[in-house]
């Protein structure tokens, strides 16, 4: 025989102040868990969503990423002529030479951080279909002009449309604001490769971006570049390249896990307290239920269900409290490129689900001992109480 759910809801309602406090305690734990996970999710998905499988990034062999790669510009010609590169509308192979530099620049809040400046070309822009100009126009060669992403322009000083940015030896004018659709390119300043090479006095490329005709061609190009010992380059799929930068979130992941674990333990104790109090104050009721013929098992499940209900209430509160941070823009250090990466907090249904599972786990672990105590009560003792 099953004890009706109504009985549990009623019991929670009777001690509503205590119920609310415990639920709120669990809710706060869940809220923090969700916020930390949303941080990790936002950062990770920035990397996951950047790059296409048939686009290849070519960097110097042995270097781990674009910021520490460099090679002779002639190599662009060697790579361009490889078969399998998708031609542009004008028939040219779609392969762009780029030069990446990093500037240390103050945020709006005053403290400085490293920002990637990518010297590229119209072809390079075309190779990144996520880029969308939202204000102004694109940079032109020879004029020391830059385009800044919307997120960067909000977070850093002198990066608004029309502002002048001091970089290396010149003043650079912000002529347009772009949006890169939440990809890693939203953390970059884009300008002309030639201008960067001159101003930084580095007549090199740090990387090439090319588009292969199809997956087989991409593999073939990768193999050819790896086999050609003279050029000493390596090609990585653009998608894999950015996925490799997901290590940037390990610190937040570890911190979030640690916080959730310790807070979860604390909430378990609180839930246990609450459930023990519930069991103690209802000893007589338990005795009556048993006398009416409800089994020990029914009593145990009933109290477990009650604990779970308490936790579900808490979990829902937690989800509600965490929701407003969704979409909030923030930034941290990209461990691979050693520069700022901007992203938005992202709460997914999956994270909310995990938060609820976490809450219910806290409730069940906290409820187990009190419930089994209730189930073990002897009818005669319980009724005499």
């Amino acid at each position: 025989m099953k004890i009706p759910l109504k009985y549990n809801v009623g019991s929670l309602w009777v001690r509503r102040v205590g119920t609310l406090m415990t639920a709120l305690g669990i809710g706060l734990t869940v809220a923090i868990f969700i916020v930390m996970m949303a941080l990790v999710q936002g950062l990770d998905s920035t990397f996951v969503e950047t790059g296409r499988p048939n686009h290849l990034i070519v960097i110097r062999n042995g270097s781990l990423n674009e910021t520490n790669s460099y090679f002779n510009r002639d190599l662009l010609q060697t790579v361009r002529l490889l078969p399998g590169i998708r031609p542009s509308s004008s028939g040219e192979p779609r392969a762009a030479g780029e030069i990446l530099v990093v500037i240390n620049h103050p945020r709006v809040t005053g403290e400085a951080s490293n920002v990637i400046v990518r010297g590229t070309s119209p072809l390079g822009l075309e190779l990144r279909p996520d880029l969308r100009l939202i204000e102004g126009r694109w940079f032109r060669r020879g004029l020391r002009e830059v385009n800044v992403s919307r997120s960067l322009s909000r977070r850093f000083q002198n990066m608004g449309l029309g502002d002048t940015l001091h970089m290396s030896r010149s003043e650079w004018k912000v002529v347009g604001i772009f949006d890169a659709g939440g990809t890693a390119y939203d953390s970059e300043v884009l300008t002309d490769a030639e201008d960067v090479a001159q101003d930084w006095d580095r007549p090199i490329y740090t990387s090439l971006l090319l588009e292969a005709a199809d997956a087989a061609a991409a593999q073939e190009i990768t193999r050819r570049i790896a086999d050609d010992r003279r050029i000493h380059l390596q090609a990585i799929s653009q998608r894999e390249y950015f996925r490799g930068q997901m290590v940037s979130s390990v610190g937040i992941k570890a911190l979030g896990g640690f916080i959730a674990l310790v807070m979860g333990v604390g909430s378990c104790f609180a839930a246990m307290n609450m459930m023990y109090a519930a069991v103690m104050s209802r000893t007589k009721e338990v005795g009556t239920l048993r006398a009416l013929g409800f089994s020990r098992w029914s009593i145990l499940t009933s109290f477990m269900v009650e604990a779970a209900l308490l936790a579900v209430a808490g979990g829902s509160l937690g989800c509600l409290m965490a929701l407003p941070i969704h979409g909030l823009s923030t930034g941290t250090a990209n461990f691979i490129t050693f520069s700022e990466i901007l992203f938005n907090f992202r709460i997914t249904p999956r994270i909310l689900g995990e938060g609820m599972v976490f809450a219910v786990a806290v409730g069940l672990v906290g409820g187990l001992l009190p419930a089994s105590r209730a189930a073990r009560l002897r009818v005669i003792d319980a009724l005499r109480d």
Binding site: M21, L28, I32, V101, V102, E111, M272, N273
Partner: protein, 381 residues
Amino acid sequence: MKYFWLLYKNLWRNRRRTLLTLSSIAASLFLITSLLTLLEEMRNPVQTPESALRLITRHKVSLFNSLPIAYREKIAKVDGVEGVMGSMWFGGVYKDPSNFFGQFAADTDKFFLINADMKVPEDQKEAYLKDRTGCLVGNTLVDRFGWKIGDRIHLQGALFQFDPELTVRAIYEGGGDLGGSLFFHWEYFNEGLNNAGFTGTYTVRARSVEEIPQIAERIDAGFQNAPVPTKTETEKAFLLGFISMLGNVQLLITSICSVVIFAIILVAANTMAMSIRERSREIGILKAVGFQNNLVLRLLLAESVLLSLSGALIGSLAARGLYSALNLPVLTSGFLQRLYVSPRILAIGVAIGLGVGLVSAGTPAWRASRRPAVEVLRRVG
């Protein structure tokens, strides 16, 4: 103090409830102490009398730009400078990219003057200086990778096309990075790069702490109009620059701590409310035998404070004990060099315990203490 026994007895009457509340508060304070310590370690890099004398000169644009070696002599001549050492972040790979640690190609002649806070046996110092391909490694790296004197270390260049073959000649403890880095001869690095002739930053030892701001200004003024301008700052400011890159960690951590404090207030308030409700009759009796309202209030508050203060102390001290016992550099792959729970943070823990105790018992204790004894005692229950 004469009521201590009464408080103790009252707390102990529902042993399970008290222990559960205590554990919940202890877990929360353990968390708060850990987070505050993490924040403190990030905001306050290790300070020694030696590190306070150190300045770092880097390229004005960013750390990614290197500095010419000719700057060394120019900086050495600046008034107030006792010694200059060039060093270059090598950023190579040891066996696997996940084995991350600091690797520097550093000038050797002034090395031990500038890094006087590194503890190295004299014979090892000499052995390191004599061996062109020797390296000096921190003791936490020795723990992580099981190195010993004489071991060969092969680094694979990532930033540079050069794979140094090094021999461990010396092991240091302490220093600004608490034994977390590897140093090798800049000359060897330069040869490996076909005498490219550059370095990353210059570490400067100032004559005195007082002169530091002027020295920084003098150095930067000397290169103001040069093709490669510089930025000089104290070692501490330089290190804090890395922390500020992580974003607003302080806001994140302080908000989490406030939420946790709020959560423990809820837990403790729940406990005190239950415990006071159960005892309303008893409180009536206390008053009937002549206890004043205020004394009753104070007793109830003291009971709550005793509970949360004990929980807070257990949690904070557990964090302190745990972090000093664990070998953090090994456990976290060098991510955390240490977590030192300072007396200041312990004091914050105690203050939180005190506050939580007072706030959580406030309302129920006030009500119970103001309730006329007659009213409570008349009730049959």
